[in-house]
Symmetry: D2
């Protein structure tokens, strides 16, 4: 075990904050890391709630002024887990202060903000400061394996990509108007929140980028009850007033990748019965792959070269020591869960920082993805295809 440390400051402590905390805590217990993460300080707006979060999540200190955190010598990494409208300001300042930055996805709520962040990251990289955006699903072992298989040429020329991210948490019209349904906070709805994940995952697996899109957006329920004031974290108490939903409930788009593949994408919060179903299927001239996050330790692979009498999609249980990240965990057949991908992200980030290399996905990658989302929105307005 190394004695060299890497001090972390985490900004935000809700859902993503819990996942990132678990990652920093667990990573050095299963992986050999060149630097030992130290959970130095968590930062939030409300002192009492931030202190409770620090105790619960295991941070040494709580703070309420993120700018002050940037001055601390014991902090080398700023881990941004706040809503998207605050990413740009914090990340740009942190990079300017010489702190490595891990920023939750989406990089920002607008292309302009993302551009500023990518520029800041480019400047910082010249000074040896690293920046990474947090698309964790690519670090689910089954999806990492998918990329490896494509990179090894196992799929040949890719013809088709189809990807769906299906949830149902607001199918009830009585579900309250959370910040995720307000454009000024969330930037977009299903498109940016979950559509972003399948764009990243498929571009990552293919090692290719989307060139043009034709999409449509829909808001099925346009008015929802406001959450009651002072309602707690559970967020279920609603008032008798309502407010407008200003983001999309569902986003669908067709896409063409630079390498010629056709894509069909769908992200929705209205797929009744689907809780967090991320489905990706890729068909190439030499084989195919299929994945569903509802069975996250499995990758289906069709080898077009198999003898016809025994060809079929193989249900690969991605828990073998040969599979990405798996060797650090349990014996074959002992599956991983949702948060393990966050641990893998922390591992790769720490290793890149120690090695002085740029971790992926970079802020430039995050910007490119933001441009894809913006093209979908533009296409939905103009009702035509749009270049990214």
């Amino acid at each position: 075990m190394t004695t060299a440390t890497l001090g972390i400051a985490m900004i935000g402590h809700a859902f993503m904050g819990a996942a990132h905390s678990q990652a920093w805590r667990v990573a050095p217990r299963f992986f050999d890391l060149p630097l030992r993460p130290v959970m130095a300080v968590v930062c939030g707006r409300d002192r009492a709630r931030t202190e409770a979060a620090a105790a619960r999540l295991g941070w040494a200190e709580a703070a309420t002024d993120w700018r002050a955190v940037l001055d601390r010598d014991d902090v080398q990494v700023v881990d941004i887990c706040t809503p998207g409208d605050t990413h740009a300001e914090i990340a740009v300042a942190a990079l300017a202060a010489g702190k490595h930055v891990l920023c939750e996805k989406p990089l920002a709520n607008t292309v302009a903000e993302a551009e500023a962040m990518a520029e800041a990251a480019a400047r910082a990289a010249a000074a040896g400061v690293r920046a990474m955006v947090g698309f964790t699903y690519r670090r689910v072992p089954a999806l990492s394996l998918a990329r490896e298989l494509v990179a090894r040429g196992r799929l040949g020329r890719v013809h088709h990509v189809r990807a769906q991210y299906l949830q149902d948490w607001i199918v009830d019209p009585a579900a309250p108007l959370s910040w995720r349904l307000q454009k000024e906070r969330a930037g977009s709805g299903a498109l940016g929140d979950i559509g972003a994940h399948i764009v990243d995952a498929t571009q990552f697996i293919l090692g290719d980028t989307i060139r043009e899109v034709s999409g449509t957006l829909e808001t099925f329920v346009s008015e929802r009850p406001l959450a009651a004031e002072h309602s707690g974290l559970s967020g279920t108490a609603v008032s008798d007033r309502t407010g407008p939903v200003t983001v999309d409930d569902a986003a669908l788009f067709l896409a063409r990748f630079s390498g010629g593949a056709l894509g069909a994408f769908e992200a929705t919060r209205f797929a009744n019965g689907r809780k967090n179903a991320i489905r990706i299927e890729i068909n190439g001239s030499a084989g195919s792959l299929a994945f569903d996050f509802e069975d996250m330790n499995v990758l289906h692979y069709y080898d077009g070269g198999d003898d016809a009498s025994v060809a079929g999609f193989r249900r690969i249980v991605v828990t073998e020591p040969q599979h990405p990240y798996v060797d650090a965990w349990w014996p074959a057949g002992h599956g991983l869960g949702y948060e393990h991908a966050f641990t893998h992200q922390a591992v790769d980030f720490v290793r890149a920082v120690a090695a002085g290399t740029d971790p992926a996905p970079s802020f430039a990658d995050g910007l490119q993805l933001q441009r894809v989302l913006a093209a979908v929105e533009a296409s939905a307005t103009s009702r035509t295809w749009h270049d990214v």
Copy 2:
């Protein structure tokens, strides 16, 4: 068993001819029919091959002139199983001759032809002559059950329709240039051949129609070897010359239904490893349905009203006596196969003829569907949304 008969003339005797023959043969053995189908005559272009087909498929006579068949008094039904470019001429003439017509899908290769056929069917209906287009998949019990559940209100307001028809039979660039890859014979490629099926099936299940579309077409392999002259039915012998593929290999489109549902459609012959995967998923405010023809006796159903601790997609094995068409066959758990839907089609057609009612889908339904396909093609050219 009735002694009244219904004389059938079948035009064409390839893949669809074999399926229809099986249906006429088997239907009266399992279902109570008001008229007994008599397999009177099969008609083809080549005498020797048609006579062989008659013997093999069980038709009393073989003929080579379909017009002469229309004059026969022992023929009450003309069953059209030829390629799409001949449908209009035969069907219009048969209806004019007072013969009931069952015409394979797609109704025609162009909207203009389909319009003429729908007009002929309307005129014939006034005279008590029936016309039906053969979209058999809607008579797979699981899909018939899907329609029943939607009609019963089990899904509530439908938000999402996603449908894929995935095959891989020409993913090999060395596969020869069959008539199905030539626009003048086939009309279109994946779009009309298989895309038509998922349009019909989803419109049928919803009891709703597609209002507008935005689509794209792709031909991945634009030049293919010609089949060798005199090559037999198996069609594998190829010459060393090549010719252009003039239809789409894949068709993708987004759609909006009149009732407000969003649709995502994909039809392709390049999904490596998928042989005949028809996948349909429908999400509504009260529940969801999912189907895959690779497991054709099963319908997945999510009841949004189930208690949360035990809610989940139900794997309904659609072989109970309560399920559509099933009671005539075997005990529960003894699944049906591909051709059973053709038998169900024959049953419904014979019953409609006997009852003097119009069978569904009508030629008007076939025309509406043709307009959906035409709108997809127009959209693919203009790169914008098109009304149907």
Copy 3:
């Protein structure tokens, strides 16, 4: 098409009669047969019902005296579809009369009867007369493929066989006392009715026989309402009197095969929610196979020699032209149903008769299987292992 014919007399016309009729009707339409089956006469106890069955099922004549049928010159095959207590008498007489015999499973209700039948078949074989017992599931293409893969050495040394046949049709204690629940008619309950199928299927796939067993039988509901007199085929009307169930509701046994494999078998009519789930899994030193009749067109195959990073059970959709029996039917991906295996049985039987070879499974095979069932019953009584 051949002009030589093979006249069939079918004895019994209930569930199995319908399945066999469909097989004789359909087989020559899809397969090249050296002799054309002629559905000459169906024989039952009740004249009116037998005539109705002849009309419905497509037999030229109806008869009520099976012995008289044996005298007919236009009958070359006797197809026995009656309950098990009548098999021996009919089969022995038919063979003595020089008729080829296809006898539904189980061969008989007792070992003694089965011995007499096997002896009769051996004598008849010397005179060129063929006998076969009807275990159709081995002719489901996925299970035929399973045998091929084992025979090709794809599994290596077989270590494990686990097989379950799960139904639930009498889980309701109010279900009436049918003949299948009476020992004098049915011989045994779940053991002989459905357990027999998984014994045959696994012995067939392995090309090996069960050497010894240790089993237990259970009757969960020992008294049931009698069916009302004159109740029809549907059999649901019950009287207010009850009678004893004299067969097993469930049979479980462990087995050792001659080749060293361990078997775990379970047959039950009390597996709530399982309608006709035949599950077979075989694990060998080089690979594994798994099958479930609820998804009957699929065989799962694990190749232990696959590279570890991409190894996994392959979901083989057994609808390729390379697969057993499939080439005669539809294109890839168009699945078969329950009754197709009966057609395959008819095809193999006709071909064997024409070729002058013994079809399998033979009456000797049926006798061996009967001895396995008898050993299970003996073991259940003695509570120890029994040799077959």
Copy 4:
């Protein structure tokens, strides 16, 4: 967060040690605990390796004398993660020293040892000292839910239990002779190592115990290469000498539960392609349940009371806040992994200690299970049924 602490000493630091360490570390971060676990000391035989484990796994100290650990005032819990042959000595001493004990399964290698341990636990309980045996799978949320559903009467009278634990890690005859294959260390092979888990899980779900068994054991490969001396943790280096395998490779048994259910159990390390497949299916008069650890976040449930037209096994994704343990983790659809059940075990243990109640499964439960295993072994020898 509480400030009261609970000092833990863990004995052993291999596979189970890593899993338990993760549990102690993570439990207070997601669950509200009345006492905060302190990872005080880990104990092993080799000082250097134990110190390395302490650093890696996050224990404050390393020790090599487990008896000395029992004298420490800062230790209130002894967590036993060593092989089974050492459990009895450590547990009895720890309980006598007034330490709460969490002991990995199986409780011991013999019934006699288990009896001594259960007696020690009974004595300790009188003094307020708690003892628990570590069958973690019952705390996988899907299996906890299974028990809840049975307890709520959702299955009615249970007729069938079928359970398999399938692995393949020694199917290769060249796999070396580890301690798990030596009777003096491991007690038994597949039976005690993995068969024990499905016995516990099914007894737990039913709330019933096994009354009698009939089983068989098999060792397919009786001689294996010895591991090379000084071979590391990975254990793959083998010497050119061999030694005898003295435990079973596979164990199969039939069982009868006290409440009348029939059981079929199979545990094997020779199921090629199955890595850690724990499959449990339970059929009752009112419904059924099915589980497979390869898809560990899912429970399949059949409600026999559902309307027949929509009845089917429900695929419950056990990630809802209504499900056991789940509310503490992530939103719906974000699955858990293998080690989460260890965290749940730690949570329940800490809560029981704080509440002064006896955690389950108790040492008495572990003893009862040991008697089931012993009865299977006796039955395998005598080739008859044995009472537990």
